[in-house]
């Protein structure tokens, strides 16, 4: 149990380290940008019509406070941290005066749902197929699957997404290609709404699954074909242990360990993929929010979403990391 605590403490230290680096980076990028958010916002506001200079000056002052661009660099830095810790990124400009955090809160469940589901499906299916392909290296069926996956693997998110969009949006329009759920339905625990969410989520999720499966398949297959020559596997086969047990308990269980770490490491990329998928399918999650914020020139929204997603990814990585000892007794028991 002691080993477990030390392990968790270490991982937590890493989490803090990553979050501090990410937040600092976001702050520095925003601070040293040649664009002054206050002036940018002002020009955006004033472009809607003539505003008298005095009220512009008042607005400028309050915007400075809002964006925390007053005081020395250090003061601004700590001010920024204060806001990050409070989860207060100010009001969104494009949806004034809704707080950025409220908008993020609305988008968050969509992204979490989509990503969790798609990532888990890709991980489970990719690893299962990869393990089978690695263990039964001479199976014809697995060779065909392998060839298929190899062709699929290098195809990037946007190509898979666009292809699915074209197939199911234009050639054979059976699935919705835009949005998170049917608009005229009241969100809630009704069957109509849930089935609509599932329908709308199918193509985005399928894209992420197709993109994700290949990597897991290939790495698992090579892990397994290495592990089958490990002493403990050879020994179990020599011991006449039934093939099913050898495969599941001796081969797959050991090959799974690096794949859990791999899952944690891949989350950053998975999130990047989600941005493009949400954009392609107009899915109402964090990624689309970020892109929309950039299009709308919404400074506080973009800074807020970026900072938030850096932290969220780090926390997700941490959560996966601390499940690792549950499957590897060498870590748990020190």
């Amino acid at each position: 149990m002691n080993g477990f605590l030390i392990y968790v403490a270490k991982r937590f230290g890493q989490l803090v380290f990553v979050v501090v680096t990410g937040v600092t980076l976001a702050f520095l990028i925003a601070h040293f940008s040649p664009v002054d958010p206050v002036e940018q916002t002002l020009s955006l506001v004033t472009s809607f019509g003539a505003t008298d200079p005095r009220s512009v000056e008042i607005l400028r002052q309050s915007l400075r406070e809002l964006y925390g661009t007053e005081g020395s660099l250090i003061e601004q830095y700590f001010l920024f941290w204060g806001r990050v810790l409070r989860g207060d990124f100010g009001p969104s400009l494009s949806a004034f005066p809704t707080p950025v955090m409220t908008i993020i809160g609305r988008a968050l469940p969509w992204t979490i749902g989509l990503l969790t589901l798609a990532t888990l499906i890709a991980w489970v299916v990719g690893n299962t197929l990869g393990a089978i392909a690695g263990y039964f290296r001479n199976s014809r069926a697995m060779k065909v699957v392998g060839l298929f996956v190899m062709a699929l693997q290098p195809i990037p998110t946007y190509i898979s997404g666009l292809t699915l969009l074209i197939i199911f949006g234009f050639l054979w329009p059976v699935l919705p290609i835009s949005g998170g759920a049917q608009l005229n339905l009241e969100p809630g625990m009704t069957w109509a709404y849930i089935s609509s969410v599932i329908q709308y989520g199918t193509l985005p999720a399928l894209t992420l699954v197709l993109v994700g499966i290949g990597g897991w398949f290939i790495s698992m297959r090579s892990l397994v074909s290495n592990i089958v020559t490990d002493d403990h596997v050879v020994y179990a086969e020599l011991g006449g242990v039934p093939s099913r047990t050898v495969f599941s308990q001796y081969v797959a269980r050991n090959a799974m360990l690096p794949q859990v770490t791999g899952l944690a490491l891949s989350l950053g990329n998975v999130f990047g993929g989600a941005v493009i998928v949400e954009f392609i399918f107009n899915y109402p999650g964090i990624g689309k929010l970020m892109v929309a914020g950039i299009y709308a020139g919404d400074y506080s929204l973009v800074l807020g979403v970026t900072t938030f997603s850096v932290i969220a990814v780090a926390v997700a990585v941490f959560l996966i990391d601390i499940t690792y000892p549950l499957i590897d007794p060498r870590v748990k028991l020190g």
């Binding site: 890493q14 380290f17 990553v18 680096t21 990410g22 980076l25 976001a26 990028i29 925003a30 940008s33 040649p34 664009v35 290296r137 001479n138 190899m150 062709a151 693997q153 290098p154 195809i155 990037p156 998110t157 946007y158 190509i159 666009l162 292809t163 074209i166 949006g169 234009f170 090579s222 074909s225 290495n226 020559t229 490491l265 989350l267 950053g268 990329n269 999130f271 990047g272 941005v275 493009i276 954009f279 970020m290 892109v291 914020g293 950039i294 400074y299 973009v302 800074l303 979403v305 970026t306 997603s309 850096v310 990814v313 780090a314 990585v317």
Partner: protein, 285 residues
């Protein structure tokens, strides 16, 4: 080196096929230097012509010949990828070799930094940068940023090899005979890590090009400069699919798939060549 290449071409079907795809793409890139009109020009040819004998890959709604557009885009996209890969290679090799050679606490500190940087999600950070820089975000700036984000994984791989070289006889020998550290690293250690460097370069190219295409599709790069992602961006902006001009979107998609599969096959076969264990697996039975 030449013999290795010949062996790979002769005995490794993946390598052969990958090389073929890349050769086609390089031929297209070379063709871009013989374009009949400036690549930035619009309405140079009759718009919306389907692929045929006159316009091999058709023309788009902006009056551009898709073939010449593709050639210029492929060139620009590849150059971007290569620049990113080169810069990040230099960083990865330097960090990996030094960290592995020094070892101990310094190595641990470098690797902690390395992993932290690697754990940050790239896309949000890049998007924030794109947002604040706007028009100043030219492709060289983007390339530099991508290179600064994309070396951490490879430096770790290189470091693990360098770590094993550290205790070898020849390293002690070289250090004893008064060779300077930089000399030891460059002359003695670098050759050992070159195979991994080659393998990671392929993967890094794929990653960098993917990044560029992603940002271009979103419209976050210089959209007037032809790139693969830019082609898709314009096709989307003109609702090419709805308008029935399918080749506008199909051409860049097929091209990028060819490029990625080509690079991927090269990376896989080279990796197999380096790693004796997967050689065994390949022999099967």
């Amino acid at each position: 080196m030449f013999k290795v290449l010949r062996d790979l071409l002769r005995y490794n079907r993946e390598f052969l096929f990958g090389s073929l795809l890349i050769a086609i793409i390089l031929a297209v890139v070379v063709a871009s230097y013989f374009a009949p009109y400036d690549e930035m020009m619009t309405y140079a040819v009759i718009p919306d012509m389907p692929p045929g004998s006159e316009y091999w890959l058709g023309t788009n709604s902006r009056g551009q010949d898709m073939f010449w557009q593709l050639a210029a885009s492929m060139r620009n996209t590849l150059i971007f990828g290569i620049v990113v890969a080169l810069i990040s290679r230099v960083i990865a090799i330097a960090v990996g070799l030094i960290s592995g050679y020094v070892g101990g606490k310094t190595d641990q500190a470098i690797m902690a930094f390395n992993d932290t940087l690697g754990a940050l999600p790239n896309i949000p950070i890049l998007l924030l940068l794109v947002f604040v820089l706007r028009d100043q975000m030219t492709w060289p700036v983007l390339a530099l940023t991508a290179a600064l984000l994309g070396w951490t994984h490879d430096s770790r791989l290189i470091r693990s090899v360098a770590l094993s070289l550290r205790t070898r006889e020849f390293t002690r020998h070289a250090a004893f005979s008064g060779m300077r550290t930089t000399q030891i690293l460059l002359r003695e250690h670098l050759p050992y890590v070159m195979p991994i460097v080659f393998f990671t370069t392929m993967n890094n190219l794929i990653w960098a090009i993917g990044l560029e295409v992603t940002l271009s599709i979103l419209g976050f790069s210089d959209i007037n400069r032809p790139t693969i992602g830019g082609m898709i961006y314009w096709a989307n902006a003109h609702s090419a699919m709805v308008a029935g001009i399918w080749w506008w979107i199909a051409v860049p998609m097929v091209a990028v798939v060819m490029l990625f599969i080509g690079l991927f096959l090269l990376a896989m076969s080279v990796n197999e060549y380096i790693d004796p264990r997967s050689r065994l697996a390949r022999m099967g039975a």
